[in-house]
């Protein structure tokens, strides 16, 4: 009996074993687990926004302008977190805002990561003049502060959420290129790669099936970092009036609209920013946990 149970444990699919091991190290970091739960909750809020939101995010109640949150004097139970200057329910706008922030994070990270990995693998695999040209180009992009470059790109492309996302993705992609290139260069001379080449694998297979899966750990950690930074930068662009445009319930744009009421109605200013902070903090906590779980140096074997 003991024999068979050991056998089944060994026959478990390698993917499941990797995941189990990952979870073991990830769960050691309590902050990371909390971050994960908050993040899952945010994703659920974003998906079920129409069911959760008590009001339409764009609907203006003219009889309820700048109503404070329910626990404050003058608050109404219909508007739990109060209303803004044109009578829109803040809670509903925050709930819909989660959709925008997560969407921005996912799209920017995916685009930056896919482009960055492609370019990085090419640079690290072929080396030579292609590598030099690519790395110089990346140095040039990295010479600008990301928000400044994004701001200027948006000035060229015109303000708007999509253009802001393109700009941010472009600015983030050099980090992925550098990481991928370094990892590919380190892996390329390993025995298993040489073996695969001798076995007749072509360059495409070598690059993407043989080498790339072994370079993913730092890229995933960088992905989490990009996710949270993308949300921050998109909100900053929205705040400057260069990202999502009013009346979109994007959190940064909501803050920009609320600025003039800063000393009269604290809730209009405080709540959208708090939503940004909680989201970014949850993702960064997760990112720290990912780093601990994926970084072989940190593992106690």
């Amino acid at each position: 009996m003991a024999d068979t149970s050991i056998k089944t444990a060994n026959e478990e699919s390698p993917l499941r074993r990797v995941l189990a091991e990952f979870w073991f190290y990830f769960a050691e970091n309590r902050g990371a687990v909390i971050g994960l739960w908050v993040f899952v909750a945010l994703v659920l809020v974003a998906i079920f926004a129409p069911l959760l939101a008590p009001h339409e995010p764009y609907l203006q109640y003219r009889d309820a302008v700048l109503v404070p949150p329910v626990w404050q004097e003058g608050g109404r139970s219909a508007y739990l977190l109060g209303t803004d200057a044109v009578g829109r329910d803040i809670l509903s706008r925050l709930i819909y805002g989660a959709r925008y922030s997560l969407f921005i994070g996912i799209v920017v990270t995916t685009v930056a990561m896919v482009c960055g990995i492609l370019i990085g693998v090419i640079a690290g695999y072929f080396r030579g003049w292609i590598d030099t040209a690519i790395m110089r180009l990346m140095d040039i992009i990295l010479a600008f502060p990301s928000l400044l470059l994004a701001l200027v790109l948006v000035a060229v492309l015109g303000p708007g959420l999509i253009n802001a996302m393109i700009a941010i993705a472009l600015v983030y992609q050099p980090h992925f290129v550098r990481l991928t290139r370094a990892a590919v260069m380190a892996e390329k001379s390993r025995d298993y790669v040489v073996a695969a080449r001798v076995a007749g694998a072509g360059p495409l297979r070598l690059m993407f099936r043989t080498i790339l899966p072994n370079c993913m750990a730092p890229l995933i950690v960088q992905g989490a970092l990009s996710f949270s930074n993308a949300i921050l930068d998109a909100a900053a662009l929205g705040f400057l009036g260069m990202g999502a445009q009013p009346p979109t319930p994007e959190w940064g744009t909501m803050l920009a609209e609320a600025r003039e009421f800063i000393l009269r109605a604290w809730w209009v200013v405080t709540l959208p920013g708090l939503a940004i902070l909680i989201t970014v903090l949850a993702i960064n906590l997760m990112g720290d946990g990912l780093r601990d779980a994926l970084d072989p140096k940190m593992k106690r074997s």
Binding site: G31, R136, L137, D139, I140, A143, F144, P145, S146, L147, L148, L149, L151, V152, V154, A155, V156, G158, S228, L232, A235, A236, F239, L240, G241, M242, G252, L255, R259, I262, L263, W266, V269, T270, P272, G273, I276, L277, V280, L281, N284, L285, D288
Partner: protein
Amino acid sequence: MLQFFLRRIAVLIPTFLGVSLIAFSFIRLLPGDPVLILAGQHAMTPEQHAAAMHALGFDRSLPVQYLDYLGNMLQGDFGQSVVTKRSVLQEFFARFPATLELSICAMIIAVCLGIPAGVFAAVKRGSFFDHTVMGTALIGYSMPIFWWGLLLIILFSGILQWTPVSGRIDLLYYFPSVTGFMLIDSLLSGQKGAFGSAVSHLILPAIVLGTIPLAVIARQTRSAMLEVLSEDYVRTARAKGLPPFRVIGVHALRNALIPVITTIGLQVGVLMAGAILTETIFSWPGVGKWMVDSVFKRDYTVIQGGLLLIAAIIMFVNLIVDLLYGLINPRIRH
């Protein structure tokens, strides 16, 4: 060392050319007629248009235009602002001291709080203090600083009424600009209360701008310190019976600070990005606010020149940090 220095510069030149090429292409990528954009007009007669085109050099081939642009730039000619018709370089240097003063103060706050916090967190690893510092640092690192600035304004300017909301100094005071740094100029002017007013205007923006560097420096110091503390030579120093203060403050900290210095250098880009937001919130008349205003006014020569100048400054600072690093840590030179 000289070789290391020259190699660094050699890498920098193509990057700088690339940066200038981006700034050069920027105006030509804009939707619409660049001649109309640069002349700041909506309509022109064909003759006026041809004359303006010639004056701006747009009638020549693109490579010649680029070389012209590069040549003018190296002579300090970054063109004229479309809106004010003043030289872009002059406008930049009129605002740069304000940004520099703000950034230096932010960095002083970040370094003076971040390094001790990181060192103590590492020494007391796992303690309540350690968890508090690292938790706070993660919050600071995740902070949308434009919102953080608004919160501080609500608290200190709105509720407590301790600090003014915007600007660099009260309008009551007037004195000629000597250094461009309000803190120094207000002291030199000798007017009573001027220095206090400058400090009260500066403190909130400096805290806001210093928040992210502070968090990054505290985290980096802690992890560098933890690594060094487990080294053999630190154990030897302890075994010799040196007092803990000497082991941590002299033996460990000196080596732990090497990566921290790199981190501090890398914060220059963060500071410039942060200055865009901080200066906008506090109406601080610096380079960041100037860039945002120019984007709104479609003052494209200013955006072009500002982009290049800011990138050049960041590259210059990074070069200095690299050289300093080579000086402290000889291994890196090869």
